[in-house]
């Protein structure tokens, strides 16, 4: 029995009276689990709290806040999910002012599964679980060591398996645009298979993951074709770190490199309506 569950239940019992709900994972039928809003009206549900497999809960928070912007909420989040929340806050997709983060540290097995460099939270007010050190990512390292031709051949072959389910985009905690480039006919031939060369869908996706990917590996987990696209996004993250000295999701104060302020005059955000 995972000791983190007991500690989480204690933390939740304490906080539930003060918030509209706590976002966590709940056991469902047939061994499934899924995101759930635990509320003080139903304390018996705490018995069904689940931990693994994880789901990208930042999007659940975004969903709830869109419908109820004033609600005080708490959210159980792992390192990657906290990074996801931080980036979403910087892009004004979630408001962390009314949110209490309950940081959940990953076990060494969970960190190895995700090949995660930071399997713990750094900003959460409450933390549960013993911090474990980040693990190396041999899959990405091995790939980075390949030659240019070999890399190209690898991706050409991998992307041929893509069935354009849009799962990688749908599950990504950082994909929140109402009007998505991946559905724009100029860039992606929607409804066409196999993936053409160049694989515009995946190239556009990788570009959009610049300074946004929080290394949660949900994209790889949901891909029905088993395409290891996290390698792609992580290599880009390494470049971003090198070029802009920017670590995605590490700090609320650090501005993402794409949000540039023009030298003369104030920069006005005229984004799409949410």
């Amino acid at each position: 029995m995972d000791a983190r569950l007991t500690a989480l239940r204690q933390a939740m019992t304490q906080i539930l009276p003060d918030v509209a709900g706590v976002i966590g994972l709940k056991c469902g039928p047939a061994g499934s689990n899924a995101p759930h809003l635990f509320q003080k009206e139903r304390p018996e549900e705490l018995a069904d709290l689940a931990l693994w497999p994880k789901y990208p809960v930042p999007d659940t928070l975004r969903l709830l806040q869109k419908a109820h912007p004033e609600a005080k909420l708490a959210i159980i989040c792992r390192g990657c999910e906290e990074r996801g929340l931080v980036e979403m806050a910087k892009h004004t997709q979630v408001n962390l002012d009314n949110v209490t983060m309950i940081g959940l540290a990953c076990t060494p097995e969970e960190a190895t599964f995700c090949r995660c460099a930071r399997p713990y939270t750094v900003q959460a007010q409450i933390t549960v679980g013993e911090r474990t050190a980040g693990v190396p990512d041999p899959v990405t390292d091995d790939f980075a060591a390949k030659g240019q031709e070999e890399k190209l051949a690898f991706w050409k072959e991998q992307f041929l398996h893509c069935i354009k389910c849009y799962g990688c985009r749908n599950i990504c905690p950082q994909c929140f645009c109402n009007v998505c480039t991946l559905e724009d006919e100029k860039w992606v031939s929607t409804g066409w298979l196999p993936m053409p060369l160049p694989p515009m869908y995946h190239l556009v996706r990788a570009m959009h993951m610049t300074a946004k990917c929080v290394a949660c590996r949900e994209c790889e987990e949901t891909c029905p074709a088993g395409i290891p696209m996290a390698i792609h996004y992580r290599l880009i993250a390494r470049d971003v770190q090198e070029m802009f000295d920017y670590e995605t999701g590490a700090s609320l104060a650090e501005k993402p490199p794409q949000l540039l302020v023009l030298a003369e005059g104030e920069f006005e955000r005229t984004g799409l309506p949410h």
């Binding site: 509320q39 849009y166 949901t222």
Partner: protein
């Protein structure tokens, strides 16, 4: 009242039967999440599965039977629609024979619905002309 939960169900589209979660926010289905522990889907979904919720509240969804009068489709009651279908099928069968009628079913229908449908075709009307949308 703020409420959010996920309901595990099976995708209504093809015969594979991927498990998926319907995200329910304040009593309304707002999206889909994959079911990571499902034996069939294993956390993956095709593009139809990811959009399995989209038809539920769609404006084009029929809520009343429609009957064609003077070349135009107009809303009618279930009683009138069923009576019309039963009468016309009987007339066509009497005039042209049972095999002039074909029955098109759907992979979205349940096994039980399809069983009844083919019974209607074979035992009631008396034809083997039965097929379904996934074969078309």
């Amino acid at each position: 009242m703020l409420e959010y939960r996920n309901v595990l169900t099976i995708c209504p589209f093809c015969g594979v039967g991927c498990g998926l979660n319907l995200q329910v926010l304040d009593g309304k289905v707002v999206g889909v999440l994959p079911a990571k522990m499902h034996a069939v889907s294993q956390g993956g979904l095709c593009v139809k599965g990811w959009n399995a919720h989209a038809f539920i509240y769609h404006q084009d969804r029929l809520t009343q039977p429609l009957v064609r009068r003077h070349g135009k489709l107009v809303e009618t009651s279930w009683d009138e629609a069923l009576a019309l279908v039963a009468n016309r099928l009987s007339e066509i069968k009497a005039q042209f024979g049972a095999d002039s009628i074909t029955f098109l079913s759907s992979a979205k229908a349940t096994n039980e619905e399809n069983y009844l449908f083919q019974k209607l075709a074979r035992a009631v009307i008396g034809t083997n002309n039965i097929d379904h949308c996934a074969r078309l």
